[in-house]
Amino acid sequence: MDVLGHLAGGFIAVFTPLNLLVLAVGLVLGLLVAVLPGLTLVMGVVLALPFTYTMDVTPAIILLTAMYVTGTYGGAFTAILFRVPGEPIDVPLLWDGYTMARRGEPARALGWTLFAALFGGLLAAVVMVAASEPVARLALALSSPDYFAIIVFGLTSVVSLGGGSVANALISLCLGLMFASVGIDETYGAERFTFGIPILSDGIEYLLVMVGAYGIGEVYTRLAQGYGTATLSGVGNLGTRLPRLAEVLGLKATLARSSILGILIGIVPGAGATIASFVAYGAEGQYGRRRAELGSGIPEGIVAPQTAATSSVGGAMIPLLTMGIPGSGATAIILGAFLLHGVQPGPQVFVDSPDMVYAIFASLFVAVLGMCVVGYAAIKLLVRVLELPEAIVSAFVVVFCFIGAFAARNNLTDLYVITAFGVLGFLFERYRFPIAPMVLGSILGPLAETTFITSMISYANDWTVFCTRPVAGSVMALSLAALVFPLLRHLRARRRIAARS
């Protein structure tokens, strides 16, 4: 009852004019970013950061969360209609969504996408509300070795689940952790890797790492590859045809399976909407009633990835709000926004600021509903944005990144730093080093170090404490499994190839 009471308060907070306005802006911007060429979901959230500096923390997070959830849906339009996946999340939609559209049923494909996003998003929001308080209560009882182990799990899972090779992801993570260690050490006040340069004494802000590597780096990558402008045809008679109840009931197993997978994958730190989308499609191919027809343009092939992608948002918000550990690239940036506003997400916010937490929860429900309404009503207008020349969009992205970096500290030197991280981001993309571990490392590095040092002080430098305490030991075992899993999969694949040949 307490939860429902808080949630009702959250809805009242969301329906105040300012919060409702930022939510509407977030929905439209999120859909535009998802449709626009060269912009990704994570980049979109990064670009919205400067708008949040002067806001209170609640509308700031509502704006970013609305952009995050709509980012998992908007790319479906261009993937289904024009075979242009905005980002990897939308790749599975090409196989059945685009095929269905090419068969002459684009409105039906879009209708299934809308329904899947609505169902997955709302179910995940319900799970998020129900699970967060119990998880936060559990988190309150954690000791520093347990906390350190959970952070290590977050960092290792982003290594094993992400893009690039595991070795490259580990290197990216170590670099992120090292960037976080530059500056004056908090415990001893000692200077680390500052080389006598004053700006380095303040440390390298995680904001600069993420804005530079994600924002500017992506612009450089696209610039190096050459921009294009899409030419759209057949937009005039676009529409969305929602599925009938009987059709929906026929897909109840797919909807249930994909939602659960999406929420669970969202909860795992490091895994995000993209992994959820692929895994759900893979599960449909393995266990679906019509698995043999998958890829031929059937609704199951649209519903599975879209439901999982949108439901992963609710899942990813659980570790973020209850433990301060981001479950995806976008939640890493939302964590950054919390920190910029002086709020450390974790179990304590449920005690100190339940109004804020439940307003964010309520906003996710409203965002999912609003996203579907906007998507349904404004699809023709939204896909027209695809015609904007990418060169113009990218130029503005760079300026937005600069404003975001400059406005945080009013320091022009930070602009050189993000340019350097932009070049690093480009090199990472070029040589297939994933960016997410570096960003997560730079955000979680200080927390990891603090919990590590506190554990060592509390347990007289006994390293085994991370393995012998029940929670820490179990989570460390999970971390090890996360690292070994890709190796085992690699060996199995090699054995299979050897057996075939």
Binding site: V166, I171, R192, I275, I403, A407, L415, G422, N461
Partner: protein, 182 residues
Amino acid sequence: MSLRSRLAASLPYLVLLAAAIWFYVLAGRISYSAAEGRLGPDAWPRAVLALLIAVCAYESLKRLVFGGGSVAGMLEAFLERSGEAGAGARVGIARLGGGIAATVAYVALVALLGFFLATAAFLAAFVRIGGYRRWGVALACGVVGSLALVVLFMKLVYVSLPLGAGPFRALSVALIGLLGIR
């Protein structure tokens, strides 16, 4: 795979390895005073650097001896299977160099020219470097875009942006006065 290409494949890891070792040595020189038996501020970076050294040594050795063949992360494996992993795309070095140069010039000039002028020039230049051929549109994009950003951030979002120096500052002040920004 020839020895030369193996060397090329392992070069980035060797460079990183050398840098990590250098930083490991530097970490040992951090000066601090701590109680007996307590870990110092060098402990955490050294642990991270030890991991970095181990990974770089392993990866460079593996690439030198066996060539490629990395263990892919889950997302990478999915993308490889779907044929959407964007490796090996051609790189337009001139375009990229122009883009980076324009960005650095923008950063260098924004303190002198102020946000409005520097941004207008940067937007127009970047749009051209990005391959958009119509000069008029690029210039209009720069001026109108920069003006819109000034209004959006200085008037609506209350973000303070650089005004420039000398005559450029006077120009910026006049402009924001015209726009009704205090």
